[in-house]
């Protein structure tokens, strides 16, 4: 404790000194200071304050504190090749629906970077991704409280044009501390057309990459012999030629017993392949993945979203309409096979189907299944648990989404989107074991009427019908943009088809927002479900909320 105090004292003393010199310098030469190029400071700020109103009928709980608030500010200082920054975070106390580990205040994120033409050194906190993230991705989504920033040292080096090397050592952020394990990683990428002069003018663009990540956590298990160092390596490629693109990555992880895989000793691997073809007005994209035992955390016993080192992309579409996002897919690191296919076409202007402004259609079909696995019978001394068939697809359906969208601008005043989606959802695997599969039809109309320049009315009408779960839902949202600064929106999500008539609840909500350049103040009232929420011209990933919510954000 004493040591901490001394440390704090030193930092405070330094900052006070810096502060005083600031004032002195500012007073000495206020006018000529810009010419001195002392550097720049920029940042952004956001605070969400919520007053909770209990509503037992919809499961909305009151907070003992009545009001809770989350807030943060990023401040970045730049001078030439040098950048430093901090993020101050405050959870007094953390909002409901937020990971419970966020309590109190602090500066969990601080870094300094020096960047020359081909070398970059970062000390402190940083975010990094190798390839598609199958071996490593440190990442943040502030609005949802996701943050596994690495705290350590990172080097990036470009020895010659086209070759990019990265190396890092760090510990992962866990709320206001770090996890117990160490993460070490190396990534190399070569862009062949830039690296070799002979290939510079070739039409085919080829990039190759490889990464290796190792985590260390000591083994203190009284019964099991656990690997203390676990390596995860991957190779990747990307090829583009004219309008055609293909990329893929394969990752292999050695045995990594953890609470995620019931401490089995099987290796893990992941394969990801994406291809697309696009010309003006027409595009096709296909992607697929196979994931087997790929959970990788810097603490074997961590759960939820804590201390994840890698990232398993979920390929199905991300939806921003409320009822479309009702049953969202989450990738299954334990094991799954995913696919996604999409066609986009734009009927040209001045044609029968295109009309005056053209018509855009999107068709997407995506889904996921289990792996084709065979349990190892009898005594399994190595706790391997199962073997999996590489080519086979498992019998269990995890997810299906058939999605059709038509977007049309009719004239200068009217435009609209029509959507139909058929969804199959294995709730038991994705959310809650023991739930039945859900089969749902979703229809949406989103219509905008432009009243005058920068003033518009937008109406969203949505319907979801299913015989499972809570049965049918309807949703309506009316948004009125008064001018470029003000908007109001009101909506209701209604469980009109619930088989228990006394549970046919309404989820009313209302928003009023003020925006000026990058300043934004939004007051919302009512109950809001979690997910991507687009209102007032911006999209944000929101946690579930109820009561009165005030959001203030700004960047400078």
């Amino acid at each position: 404790m004493k040591k901490n105090d001394a440390y704090l004292f030193k930092i405070t003393a330094c900052l006070v000194a810096l502060f005083i010199t600031n004032i002195i310098l500012a007073q000495v030469n206020l006018t000529g200071i810009k010419d001195l190029n002392i550097g720049e400071v920029h940042g952004n700020f956001q605070a969400n304050a919520q007053y909770y109103i209990a509503d037992s009928s919809i499961g909305a709980e009151a907070a003992a504190e009545k009001m809770l608030m989350n807030g943060f500010a990023n401040i970045i200082f730049t001078k030439g090749k040098f950048t430093a920054g901090i993020r101050y975070e405050s959870y007094l106390n953390g909002l409901q629906g937020y990971p419970a580990g966020y309590k109190g205040t602090g500066i969990p994120y601080r870094f300094a970077t020096y960047k020359s033409d081909n070398l970059e050194v970062t000390v402190g906190s940083f975010y990094e991704q190798f390839g598609n993230g199958l071996t490593l991705r440190s990442y943040e989504e502030r609005n949802l409280g996701l943050d596994n920033a690495l705290d350590g040292i990172r080097l990036k080096y470009e020895p010659f044009k086209g070759l990019y090397l990265k190396g890092l050592v760090g510990k992962q952020r866990l709320y206001f501390s770090t996890g117990p394990g160490l993460v070490r990683g190396f990534d190399g990428e070569i862009q062949l057309n830039e690296a070799f002069k002979k290939l510079a003018d070739k039409k085919t663009i080829v990039t190759l990459g490889a990464s290796f990540v190792s985590k260390y956590q000591s083994d203190q298990d009284p019964t099991l012999v656990l690997p203390q160092n676990v390596g995860n390596s991957a190779g990747r490629f990307a090829i583009a030629r004219n309008n055609f693109k293909i990329n893929g990555e394969y990752a292999y992880k050695i045995n990594d017993p953890s609470s995620d895989n019931n401490f089995n000793y099987k290796y893990g691997d992941a394969a990801l392949l994406q291809a697309s073809y696009a010309v003006k007005g027409f595009a096709v994209s296909l992607s697929g993945s196979r994931i087997d035992n790929m959970s990788y955390r810097s603490d074997r016993t961590a759960t939820l979203t804590n201390l994840l080192i890698n990232y398993i992309p979920a390929l199905p579409m991300q939806h921003s309409y409320s009822l479309l996002a009702f049953y969202p897919y989450a990738s299954q690191a334990k094991g799954e096979m995913e696919f996604s296919s999409e066609v986009k076409y734009k009927f040209k202007k001045e044609t029968f189907l295109g009309g005056k402004y053209g018509t855009e259609i999107t068709i997407n079909y995506s889904g996921a299944n289990s792996l084709d696995t065979t349990h190892i019978k009898g005594a399994d001394i190595k706790h391997l648990g199962y073997t999996s068939n590489y080519i086979g697809i498992g019998k269990d359906m995890y997810f299906r989404d058939l999605y059709l969208e038509v977007y049309k601008k009719i004239n200068k005043k009217w435009k609209g989107t029509l959507i139909y989606s058929y969804r199959e959802y294995n709730k038991s695997i994705i959310q809650k074991p023991g739930s039945p599969n859900i089969y749902a039809h979703i229809a949406i109309a989103d219509i905008t009427y432009k009243i005058k320049q920068e003033s518009a009315l937008r109406l969203e009408v949505q319907n979801l019908s299913t015989k499972q779960d809570h049965q049918n839902w309807a949703y309506a949202l009316l948004e009125y943009t008064i001018n470029e600064n003000w908007f109001v929106a009101t909506g209701d999500q209604y469980n009109y088809g619930n088989e228990y008539t006394n549970e046919r609840y309404h989820y009313y909500m209302a928003n009023i927002g003020y925006m000026k350049n990058t300043n934004r103040i939004i007051l919302s009232c009512g109950k809001q479900r979690a997910g991507i929420f687009c209102v007032g011209g911006v999209c944000r990933n929101v946690p579930a909320s109820n009561g009165l919510l005030l959001t203030v954000s700004s960047s400078f």
């Binding site: 500012a26 400071v41 960047k115 693109k245 925006m515 990058t518």
Partner: protein
């Protein structure tokens, strides 16, 4: 308590008068981005021969972002003729959807430069909160205006700003 004090001190310290300045004079931070072909490009290489630029942050799942880019795309030829402006669209799609960035841009018929900021390093460096967020860069490569959110018709306001920037007028907004 100590931490709060420290936090306030740092904010106050950095926000001192000579540090505090408006956007003008700020240059684009140098961050590595990906082209839709998989090449790496540094944002410090963004240039438009002394003419203004727009940097627009978007994602394949963000409706207002795509509405804004569609609206600009419709009149883009006129915009470039009038002001010489160039638009650079930065997608913050994660690897789950970054493969669709190029196809989305092509199928929408956008004639913009499109880059992918897969782990949001550029978004962080530019202090972007919610998307869409646009930045207007003057001929000297300095950020002179920024705005977040898109409302039908607000592209007209953006064009006014660009015209002013092109004429070298100061933006008081």
């Amino acid at each position: 308590m100590k931490k709060i004090f420290l936090g306030i001190l740092i904010i106050v310290g950095f926000n001192n008068r000579y540090f505090a300045q408006n956007s003008e004079g700020r240059v684009i931070p140098a961050i590595d981005l990906k082209t839709v072909d998989g090449k790496i490009i540094s944002s410090s290489k963004f240039s438009n021969n002394g003419k203004p630029m727009i940097i627009d942050f978007w994602a394949t799942w963000c409706k207002p972002c795509k509405k804004e880019l569609d609206a600009i795309s419709e009149d883009y030829t006129d915009w470039t003729k009038e002001t010489g402006v160039k638009l650079i669209a930065i997608s913050i799609d994660e690897s789950r959807s970054s493969g669709k960035v190029g196809t989305d841009a092509k199928s929408h018929g956008w004639d913009f430069e499109v880059y992918i900021d897969e782990n949001q390093d550029f978004k962080r460096a530019m202090n972007v909160g919610d998307i869409p967020q646009v930045f207007v860069i003057n001929g000297n490569g300095e950020i002179v205006w920024q705005h977040s959110g898109y409302i039908d018709g607000s592209e007209a306001h953006l064009l006014e700003i660009i015209k002013k920037v092109e004429r070298g007028e100061k933006i008081v907004d």
